[in-house]
Structures are given as C-alpha cells and as structure tokens.
C-alpha cells in the first residue's frame, strides 16, 4: 500500500546545466508544504558535462538518511539512461524527455515510463540556448508538481521570493512550470499513488547545508581570522563565512572590516596562519578536507605541544589519497585523532547534521581557547554539502564565550613573575598571555623541548614533566567535551553505537528492526576523547554494533585505545563506498550478524 508522503524522487542530469536551482525549488516546495524532506546531491569531480544526480526523499516520518529506493526517476541524461532505468524500484515510474526517442531495447515491465516532450515545449516557448536548457529543468519540476500533487501556489510563492523584483524571471519560470504541469495533467493520471499531502512536520525547521551552518557558527563564535586553501568539499564553508562577514563584520564607525580571510598558498600555510592568529589572541580557524589534514599535521603537533588554540573543520571525503573528492566518508578519524609525529592527540568533535555544525563550531572555539589546543570538527561531505532539515538554530545572547586562561595586563602587573607552562590549577591547563599585553607577559613559544617555566630544555626529567602534564589536560578535556547522544532501555542487551552522519540511518534502522523484534539501544559519540558515558554505554551491553563510514573500523579502534572497551563485544558494520549510509544497510547487516548466532 502506497502511503502519502513517502516517496523518493531521483533526478539524473548533466552537471553545469543549471539543474541545481530546479531541484532546490522542488525540494523546498515540498518542505514548505510542511512535509519533511531529505536532499542528496551526487555529483562528479568535474565542472561541466558529467552525470550528476539529485535525490529527494519525502519522509512524513521525518527520517534523516537517504532511502535505498527510487520511486520516481527523472531521466534527463541519455548517457546514464540504462543505469537510471535499472535503479527504479519495482512498481516505480520513469520520466524522460520524449522529444527524442528513447532506447526501447531497454525496457522493464515493472516500471511505468512517462514521456514528456520537455525540450520541444521549451524550444517553442523560450528563446536562446541557455534559457531553453534552464527552463527544461523547471518544466520537469512542473510535471512532478502534477504527478506528486505539489501545491502550485507554494511553488509560485517560492519563485516570487527567489527572484524578488525580477518579474520577467518569475514569469518565465512560471511559464515553464505550467508547461510541465499541464502536460502531465493532460496526459497522465495525476496524481500518482505515491503522492504528497500538506502536513505540519516542518514548523520551526530550516533546510540548510552543514558548511553554511558551520560558517554561521564561526560568525557567532566571534571568529575573526580565517585562513584556508580551497578543497572540495570544504570550500563552501569559507564562502559562507565570507558572505556573512561582508554583511555583519563592517565596523560601523570606520567602515572597515572586522575580519580577515586569507586564501593561503597551501594547507601548510593555512594552519600556520591560524596558529599565528590564535597566538595573538584572535579566534581563528581553517576549513579543509583529508589531504589538507595530511599537510597540516606537522603544525598540529606543534600546536599540541606549544599549546595554541586552533579550530579546524575537516569536511571528510572519500580517501585514500585524492580518492573520490565528491563522495562522502568518515575515514579521517584516526589521522585526525593522532595527527603529527611524536606523542600527540587531538580533541575531535563529531557533528551529525548541520544543526550540530552550527553549535559545535561555537563549542570548538570555546574548547580550543579553554584547553589551549587544536580542536577538529569532523564533518563530512554528506553533512557539509547536502541540504538537511534541522530545527531552527538559536543563539543565547546571555552566553559568554570562554576565552580560557588568558592573563590581563592588570593581572600581570600584580604577578611577581609569569611562567607559561605552569599547572597552577591542577587541571593541566596553564595560563597564557597575549603579545603586546604587558612586558611581564612575554615568553618564548617553541616546539622544542621546554620546561614548565617555558625555558628550552634537553633535560629528561624537565621534558617529561611537561609531557605528563599534557595528559592531565587530556583528562580535563574528557570531562568537558560534548556528551554522547544516548537512547537507552535496560531491557536491550545490544546496541548500535555510531558517529556523525551515521545517526539518521541508525535511528531509522532501529525503528525498522524493532518491527522485526530486534530491539537495540542507540548511542552516538559526539567527541574525542570519549567521556565516561561512552564507556558506561558499552559496558552495559553484551554486543555493540559500531556503525561507521570507513573500511578500517577507525571509530572501533579509537574506542579500544581510548576507552579500554572490550574488543570482543564491538562488532563493526562498515559502509565505505562513498555514498551516504542508509537504513537498509544497517538493518541487513544487523540481521546477518544475528543469524550468525550473535542474537541480540
């Protein structure tokens, strides 16, 4: 039985043809009807001319992950027609541009094919090659509106808002919508059984990508210096920060900028700039992806040892090496946790969605300042570049950013002598000073061996004393990083423990497994080092499925190292083909493990 508001539409196009705005229009229209949606963009590492797909999952149940299904395929790319047809779920529909004949040798009895002469209609109604190509995309949105019963008024309102005072664009877009809409209504039985219907499931929600949310988080955290080297899929984070700064970071008195964004010559320089700026007291950050982390590693070790704050966003993509730059993965967990030579380890935060990107961006700056160490926010391409429906963000204007232990000029004046690396409070965090504050505050920042007083040393005991004190700080970090997200019932002996963007698929899988009488608890780590609650969660279960998106079970390895978890009960469910994980995968793998005798 087809139910309302449970449909997956996938659109196959060629990149560089302007289909992104049409797909955005489609998704937002459904969202504005109050129906939860999930949007995923699958695109090549290329500028123009290669296959690209956009997938919209309409989910009245409000699930966050992509579906494994395709109910309606819009096959706009002849190059991928065969595989697009093959991907349609049995009983589904395929829409194609019937201006040109399709390959009739490719046929499926279980798929209904709907031909719409999109090119012909647009060629008749619009002038110019570019307009015709763009309007063809808008026309399929119109056809889908008829087939899925999307409210035309909502589409109109969106177009009016998008194009504001450009009436001719509103008119031409509406004309294209009408072309598709009318053709579908006249030629097919509209709407399809798989249809949408207005509901109230999106109140107080927004549709936003994680990179924009993180950029916004940096704005609200008071970041002033951003240094970066462009790399997919992190680039849009700095783009977002820049556009917010252009609006909100102009000094009202002088008209000058209160931010400094530097496009570095490489990631080696980007992290160096971040450290120079944070040494001088500015909140500074760099967005990057896996290859950038590799290049930054030397400086990250320096920052760990010299105790400098820094915020690094790693929007992870599929590795190793260049890997698949436009596909998603969580395969930098270990390389970030232990980036650099020698005994180093770093605080990591794991956002699960754009909402957490916004909040964790701010937490990252507070933690970096508090702990005087680099903090890495491990997002991924799925979170960073896809549009997610998340609760509207709030900013607490009463909150005071934590700048950590920075001595003021007055405090320095009253001190007899200042020593940079002395653990005065017993929490492993020394006091620091900013250059230019006071003559008594000066010290020498170095990555070479130093004593607790800040002096150079090659003396074994003096060196080791500082190294050991850094472990005291590490335990302080464990106490103040974000707690895991846990849904626990004492009746369940098995659990899923996941990280980051695995959340949606795991939660959906737990619902579906419950229907099959497989009851699981849910846990999601949100930071490294792992807080005590992570260990307690593992201890309470006989079996814990560790669901993560990499080949080598990196989260599992880290749990064994850092929380002393029993490896025997940690069972890996690994998804690493570059596509975002979905519930089907988790359900199938849990059932398979169960049938092996590891009954829950």
């Amino acid at each position: 039985m087809a139910k309302v508001n449970d449909v997956v539409v996938k659109i196959a196009t060629v990149n560089g043809t302007g289909s992104a705005s049409a797909n955005g229009l489609l998704m937002k229209s459904i969202f504005r009807m109050g129906i939860p949606v999930v949007g995923k963009n699958y695109f090549p590492s290329n500028i123009q001319g290669l296959p690209t797909w956009y997938e919209i999952r309409v989910t009245g149940d409000g699930y966050q992950a992509r579906s494994g299904r395709v109910d309606v395929m819009v096959a706009m790319n002849a190059q991928t027609y065969a595989r697009d047809l093959a991907e349609v779920s049995p009983g589904g529909w395929l829409i194609y541009d019937s201006t040109w004949p399709r390959n009739r040798l490719l046929h499926r009895d279980d798929v209904t094919v709907l031909g719409i002469p999109l090119s012909r209609m647009c060629n008749e109604h619009f002038d110019g090659a570019r307009a015709r190509i763009l309007m063809k995309n808008i026309a399929y949105v119109g056809a889908l509106a008829a087939l899925l019963a999307i409210d035309l008024k909502t589409i109109t309102a969106l177009l009016e808002q998008t194009f504001a005072d450009k009436q001719h664009l509103i008119d031409s877009n509406m004309e294209a919508i009408r072309l598709g809409f009318d053709y579908a209504n006249e030629n097919f039985a509209c709407p399809l059984p798989k249809r949408v219907a207005a509901m109230h499931g999106t109140n107080k929600h927004v549709v936003i990508d994680g990179n924009t949310a993180a950029g916004l988080g940096c704005l609200f955290a008071g970041a002033t210096v951003g240094a970066w080297y462009p790399i997919t899929p992190s680039t849009s984070l700095m783009d977002a920060f820049r556009s917010f700064c252009q609006k909100y970071r102009v000094d009202p008195e002088t008209g000058k900028r209160t931010y400094c964004i530097i496009q570095a010559e490489d990631e080696l320089a980007a992290i160096g700039m971040v450290l120079g700026a944070s040494w001088n007291g500015a909140r500074s950050f760099t967005p990057t992806s896996g290859p950038g982390i590799s290049l930054m590693s030397e400086f990250l070790g320096f920052a760990y040892y010299a105790e400098l704050p820094a915020v690094i966003f790693n929007v992870q993509r599929a590795g190793p090496s260049t890997g698949m730059p436009t596909r998603t993965q969580q395969a930098d967990i270990l390389s970030c946790a232990y980036a650099s030579h020698g005994d180093t380890k770093h605080v990591l935060l794991f956002p699960a969605d754009p909402g957490e990107c916004f909040y964790m961006a701010q937490q990252a700056f507070d933690l970096a300042d508090r702990l005087q160490t680099p903090v890495m926010v491990l997002s991924d391409l799925d979170i960073g570049m896809n549009d997610w429906m998340v609760p509207e963000f709030e900013y607490d204007e009463e909150s005071v950013p934590d700048r950590g232990k920075v001595l003021s000029a007055a405090e320095l004046e009253d001190m007899e002598k200042f020593y940079r690396y002395l653990d005065v409070d017993g929490d492993g965090i020394p006091y620091r000073t900013l250059p230019g504050t006071h003559p008594k505050g000066s010290y020498f920042t170095r990555g070479s061996g130093h004593t607790k007083f800040g002096a150079y040393t090659e003396d074994s005991a003096e060196y080791q004393e500082v190294l050991d004190r850094l472990l005291v700080k590490w335990e302080t970090a464990r106490r103040i990083v974000p707690e895991p997200d846990i849904e626990y019932s004492k009746f369940n002996k098995a659990a899923i423990l996941t990280v980051g963007s695995g959340a949606g698929a795991c939660k959906e899988a737990i619902d579906r497994l419950a229907e099959q009488n497989v009851a699981l608890n849910y846990g999601r780590v949100r930071a490294f080092p792992f807080s005590e609650d992570v260990k307690k969660f593992i201890d309470k279960h006989e079996i814990v499925y560790i669901v993560e998106q990499n080949r080598d079970a990196q989260l599992r390895t880290l749990l064994i190292i850092d929380s002393d978890a029993d490896p025997a009960k940690l069972v890996s469910l690994l998804h690493y083909n570059g596509m975002p994980i979905n519930a089907d995968f988790v359900v199938e793998r849990v059932l398979a493990e169960n049938s092996k005798g590891r009954a829950a």
């Binding site: 609200f220 970041a223 210096v225 909100y248 120079g276 700026a277 400086f299 250059p435 003559p439 010290y443």
Partner: protein, 351 residues
C-alpha cells in the same frame, strides 16, 4: 643545557633610549652558536637597531622557523614574545599573527635553508601579500645543524668542506624578492654592522614586506678557501652600491651629504631613509633597472649590498584588504556576533 641566562648587571652610565632602557635591556640569553658565527653579529645589529628605534620590547614579536638562524630570536630582546615555529613556516605564522594584531612590530629571522629551500613557498607568498614585517635572512649557503650540506643559496662552483663543488643554480633572495614585488629590499654583511643597523631600522619601520638578506658566514662548515660565502670571499667581492642612513620621525637630517648623492625617502611614520649612492649608476626606486644591475653584478661574482630597492607607495596587507586599524584580537566579542534577531533573519532564507 644550551640555555644560559646572562647576569643582570649593567653599568650605571650606559646610554638610555627614550623609553629609559639601556641596550642591555634589549639583549637575550647567551648565544649557543659557534664562536665567530656571523649570526651573532646580526643579533648584535638587531639589538642596536631596536634599542635606537625606542621600540617597547613587549610590542615586538620575534618570529622564526628552524635552523641556526631561527634559534637567534632567543638571543635578543628577552622581554619580547618569541615564536620559534616549524621549518620554513615562519612567514605563515607571521601572516596570521599580523592578521590578528597589526599594531605589533614583527621581525622574522630566517636562514637560506629555511627561506629558500623548505620555506620558499611561504617566503614568496608573504612577499605577494606585502606582509608588514622585517624579514632577515642570515645567509651562509649551508645547513649547519645537519653538518654542512649545501643550501639553495650556494653559488655554482662553491666548494664544500668535503666533496664536490655545487653545480646547481643558486636562488638569490634579493633578485627573487625584486621580481615578486617586495617593497623594501636590502642586502648586508654580518661583518659590516655600520651598514647593517640602518638597513634593519629602515626595514622595521617600512610599511610592508622588508627583506634584509645578510651574508652571514658559517665558521664551522663554510668559511674555507673556495667557499663563496666565507668572510674572506665576501670581503673581497663586497660592493656597496647604495647605503642608507635612518633618520627617526621629527628629527632633522643633519649629516652633510655631497650634492646629488643623497636621496631622502619618507616612511609612513614620518621617519626618513637617506640613501647614499656609492655607485652612481644605481637607481633603487626603479624595479626594472635595479633588476638588471643586480643580475649583471651577480653574474660578475660581486656581492651588491645596501638598500637595493624601496617602494613606499604600495599598500601593505591590511590596507589592501580594508581592515580596521586596531587589533582584531582586541575587538570586543560581543560586537562580533549579530545577535539572535539577525540569526532569525538569516535563517528565514533557509525555509
């Protein structure tokens, strides 16, 4: 242990600068470099330059990378903040430091390995940005700490202590900087402090990227017969083309210059550099002519020294960007976020 504090005694009659500080107040810890190292002379020149400029020690930031040269910030102005970073990365750290606080005076001390080999990318890009700093290269043509390998500034034919002479083209910091558009380019010699001190002073006061390439012989690994970076060779082929006198703001030019030989240039803070042409064929304000002159002399095996190029017109990094004059790090955090009302407005676009 290679960290030795100097005894804190000073003669009561020592000269004091306008801040009431003596030159001793601008000293650092005892150098751990080899006896006779050129770098120690450069350190002494820096101390003199900063003392005479009346720079408050805590308003000076000493930046470095890795190598013999990069150790030296510990040997001057102990009351300044120092940042001894990683190999070849001092320019990026200084760029970020300047981004956060443009009101400090930045002095970077680097070497030919640190700047022309591992760090050549960052050296080049700091120049492109016209980062406001004094960038000193203590240039000796070898790696000292790893025992005498050639660096990228070694001249063709220069002989190592052991092994075969260098056959690869050297990277000349001065002509590289000139081709990249650096706005203050000088070369000095650690053995000529009288020439070097005003060059460093001008570099510190110049508003933009100021390079001071200092031939600073390595007594242990590159001071032998056949080396082109030895004291002897440098003295023999040393060619003053244009010297500079530094005149602080509000002071008159007192020295008597010969008609036509002196060229005063005003810096942004009102101080002046008076260029004394020793070679009348040289024009330190023309990039094209300087470049030809310098290359001709490099090809002739001569070491041209002095203030070789200056451009006070080009804006430094912050002014190119239009940044506020006060340090970003001191801008109040509560004025940096637009508030919950604006957040709601922003988010309305994502609905």
């Amino acid at each position: 242990m290679s960290y030795i504090r100097k005894p804190a005694v000073s003669h009561p009659k020592l000269a004091r600068n306008k801040l009431g500080l003596t030159a001793r107040d601008y000293e650092g810890t005892v150098s751990t470099l080899c006896a006779g190292c050129g770098h120690d002379s450069v350190t002494a020149a820096i101390i003199r330059a900063v003392f005479e400029l009346n720079i408050e020690p805590h308003m000076l930031a000493k930046m470095s990378g890795i190598g013999c040269s990069s150790k030296t910030p510990a040997y001057f102005v102990s009351q300044s903040h120092g940042f001894n970073s990683v190999h070849g990365r001092m320019p990026s750290v200084t760029t970020g430091a300047s981004a956060a606080n443009r009101t400090l005076t930045y002095i970077g001390v680097s070497g030919d390995g640190d700047s022309l080999s591992i760090g050549v990318g960052q050296f080049v890009h700091a120049i492109r940005r016209n980062l406001n700093m004094c960038y000193i290269i203590e240039n000796n043509g070898v790696y000292g700490l790893t025992k005498g390998q050639f660096s990228a500034s070694a001249d063709i034919g220069s002989k190592p202590k052991k092994g075969l002479p260098n056959q690869q083209e050297p990277i000349d910091a001065v002509s590289t900087a000139l081709s990249l558009g650096a706005t203050y380019i000088a070369r000095g010699f650690s053995g000529d402090k009288e020439q070097l001190i005003p060059l460093i002073q001008g570099a510190l006061m110049h508003d933009g990227f100021a390079l001071v390439d200092v031939i600073s012989p390595c007594v242990t690994f590159n001071d032998h017969e056949g080396s082109t970076k030895s004291y002897k060779h440098t003295r023999q082929f040393y060619h003053h083309v244009v010297d500079a006198d530094f005149v602080p703001p509000a002071e008159e030019i007192r020295a008597a210059y010969k008609e036509g030989s002196a060229m005063p240039i005003e810096l942004h803070d009102g101080s002046k550099i008076v260029l004394r042409k020793i070679d009348q064929n040289y024009d330190p304000t023309s990039r094209a002519r300087s470049f030809k002159f310098l290359r001709d002399h490099v090809n002739a095996g001569e070491i041209t020294t002095g203030l070789l190029y200056i451009n006070e017109e080009r804006k430094e990094m912050h002014d190119l960007m239009g940044n506020i004059d006060t340090p970003l790090s001191e801008y109040p955090l509560e004025k940096l976020h637009p508030g919950n009302g604006e957040l709601k407005k922003i988010l309305s676009r994502y609905r």
